[in-house]
């Protein structure tokens, strides 16, 4: 696939050392899939602006949040094959760091969100080096443990408001031109984070790092014997997959104006993110995005339909069961098999 394409192009060029090092990135920019990602981002950004549709904006905002969560989960789940059940901890912790910086230290939103991303990523690296020694079900349990432990810690951490959480005063929206305009700015930032997530997923998949992760996902012992530094690769993947969810968590809770432990570290959302990746197609960049979007839309319908509003999780569970049993490749798995050429275009 991309490995082959990139090497194709490169062997044709009498590459200098410099070109070799950067050749892959340059190549990515030439791929249609990159433009498809950019196009999706632009569509998300433009659609609600057209006609000032606030309702559509809110719906797309949630979709963009989930696409970000699913895409980043896909890096560790889809590429490296590690089921991160506690993936929501990045989102929640990022939210807390960002909201705390904004409300207590009066930091500008962008800086606070960025620091949230960096700090949560570093923390994930630390945790990752520890819990990624575990495999399979043990790793999955440990990730739930991390989420619950941090939730319990935050619930008792007074500077962050303990169990009551942090409420933002309306003043924090003033630097962004008031609440109305702030919501638009937050929306665009989240769409940007989503677009970067997709691009990051794609860039990793087309890189040597990604090849290493995929090999680990296939057979970790064989990967180690082939020379892959598996502990480092896994920890890096885990850490990278924390960065954008943490940023989006910060932006999201800035938008809602309140953050409390129950909402920030909601395990249900973790499981939903896994359903999204499985639904769209595990390991596929397009799959994670499409799965997240479809699931989010489906959930919207279910929640607003009287008869189903309490069964949303039942549906999610049945969906997951159905995928695992009958279509382990998810939606994109089906598409790739039916139309093999799409493998190249839709990574």
């Amino acid at each position: 696939m991309s490995v082959q394409q990139s090497s194709d192009a490169l062997t044709q060029v009498v590459a200098t050392r410099n070109q070799e090092r950067h050749g892959l990135i340059v190549n990515i920019f030439r791929q249609p899939f990159t433009w498809l990602i950019a196009f999706a981002g632009v569509v998300f950004a433009v659609l609600p602006v057209w006609g000032d549709n606030v309702q559509l904006r809110e719906s797309l905002l949630l979709a963009a949040v989930y696409v970000t969560l699913a895409s980043n989960l896909n890096i560790i789940l889809g590429y490296a094959g590690y089921v991160n059940f506690g993936n929501i901890v990045f989102f929640g912790l990022g939210g807390y760091v960002c909201i705390y910086l904004v409300s207590e230290w009066q930091w500008p939103l962008a800086a606070a969100a960025l620091i949230a991303g960096v700090s949560v990523s570093l923390l994930a690296l630390l945790f990752g080096l520890g819990i990624l020694r575990l495999r399979g079900a043990f790793f999955a349990l440990a990730t739930i443990g991390v989420n619950e432990a941090i939730k319990a810690f935050v619930s008792n951490f007074e500077p962050w408001g303990g169990a009551a959480g942090i409420y933002l005063s309306l003043d924090v929206y003033e630097p962004l031109g008031g609440p109305g305009q702030a919501l638009w700015i937050v929306y665009f930032l989240i769409v940007a984070a989503m677009t970067v997530s997709l691009f990051l997923s794609y860039a990793i998949k087309s890189s040597k790092f990604g090849l290493g992760l995929l090999a680990i996902g296939e057979n970790e012992d064989a990967a180690a014997v082939l020379g892959i530094n598996t502990p480092r690769y896994k920890a890096l993947a885990y850490s990278i997959s924390a960065f954008l969810p943490a940023i989006v968590g910060g932006l999201y809770f800035f938008k809602t104006g309140i953050i409390e432990p129950g909402g920030a570290f909601d395990l249900t959302r973790s499981i939903e993110a896994i359903v999204m990746v499985m639904l769209g197609g595990i390991g596929s960049v397009t799959g994670a995005a499409v799965g997240a979007f479809l699931y989010e839309e489906l959930r919207g319908v279910l929640l607003t339909t009287e008869a189903f509003s309490h069964f949303q999780l039942v549906i999610a569970g049945l969906l997951l069961l159905g995928i695992v049993l009958f279509a382990p490749g998810g939606l994109m798995g089906f598409v790739y098999r039916r139309w093999p050429r799409t493998r190249r275009l839709l990574q």
Partner: protein, 249 residues
């Protein structure tokens, strides 16, 4: 010839089982050393100790003059030891090309993605997989998977190749082809340590043979000398007429 790999007095126990007992062996540059012995003699454990899957309880493993005892498998791979597994370990839902690219990018060659292709093609050419580069590894035949193991190991451009029963499960024609392939690899200056049960193959390929029995070295020498060794014959066949036994081996 200088020693590429020196294994000195290694011991490995699993609970009460003394899998490898005070074993020493050396592999010289460009040499093919055969490692034979009855099932359960500890041959694969020796490989696992050499390439770092298990650290030895005692003893040292020295590769290119450097002590690599107990290092992680990925480090040892980087140093130039590649392995083809007895139980094939294909990265099943990746193509043959991608499998070999992993070897080229992470083994001793440590190439950037863009430069892996030429190396992979060369390796595929040697083992005869060129026409199947785009096939999924999981869909290859047994013989194909064995070749893939070899091609992937070769893609790393190793100095020492550990071959663990690459001929097992192949039919006579495939074995003949594989023997040619292994000779070709040696002609490129790569030293080979091979475990094999197919005796005519190991006898015709090896420069020297080490015989293991119950974790200890039973005999060492040229293939001809080893097959005439009465201890070896006893280990394989029990007490028997020496002439009849060497025929059977």
């Amino acid at each position: 010839m200088t020693a590429l790999l020196e294994v000195t007095n290694i011991n490995k126990r699993f609970g009460g089982v003394h899998a490898v007992h005070n074993l020493s062996l050396t592999v010289a540059d460009g040499e093919i050393l055969g490692l034979i012995g009855p099932n359960g003699a500890g041959k694969s454990t020796v490989f696992n100790v050499i390439n770092g899957v298990y650290p030895p309880d005692q003893g040292r493993v020295v590769f290119k003059g450097q002590d690599i005892t107990g290092e992680a498998p990925y480090r040892i791979a980087r140093r130039g030891v590649a392995r083809a597994h007895q139980i094939v370990q294909p990265l099943a839902s990746m193509t043959v090309l991608e499998n070999c690219t992993v070897g080229a990018c992470f083994g001793q060659a440590n190439l950037p993605l863009g430069r892996a292709r030429a190396v992979v093609h060369e390796a595929a050419e040697i083992v005869g997989l060129t026409d199947r580069l785009d096939h999924l590894a999981g869909q290859l035949t047994t013989a194909g998977k064995k070749r893939l193991e070899l091609a992937r190991a070769l893609s790393a451009r190793p100095e020492l190749l550990l071959l663990d029963e690459v001929l097992a499960g192949l039919n006579p024609t495939e074995i003949e082809r594989m023997i040619v392939v292994i000779r070709r690899i040696r002609d490129r200056g790569i030293a080979i340590l091979m475990i094999e049960h197919v005796m005519h193959a190991i006898m015709s390929l090896s420069d020297r043979v080490v015989v293991l029995n119950l974790g200890s070295k039973l005999a060492e020498g040229t293939p001809q000398a080893v097959t005439r060794n009465p201890d070896v014959i006893t280990a394989y066949l029990g007490e028997a007429e020496p002439t009849a036994a060497s025929e059977a081996i």
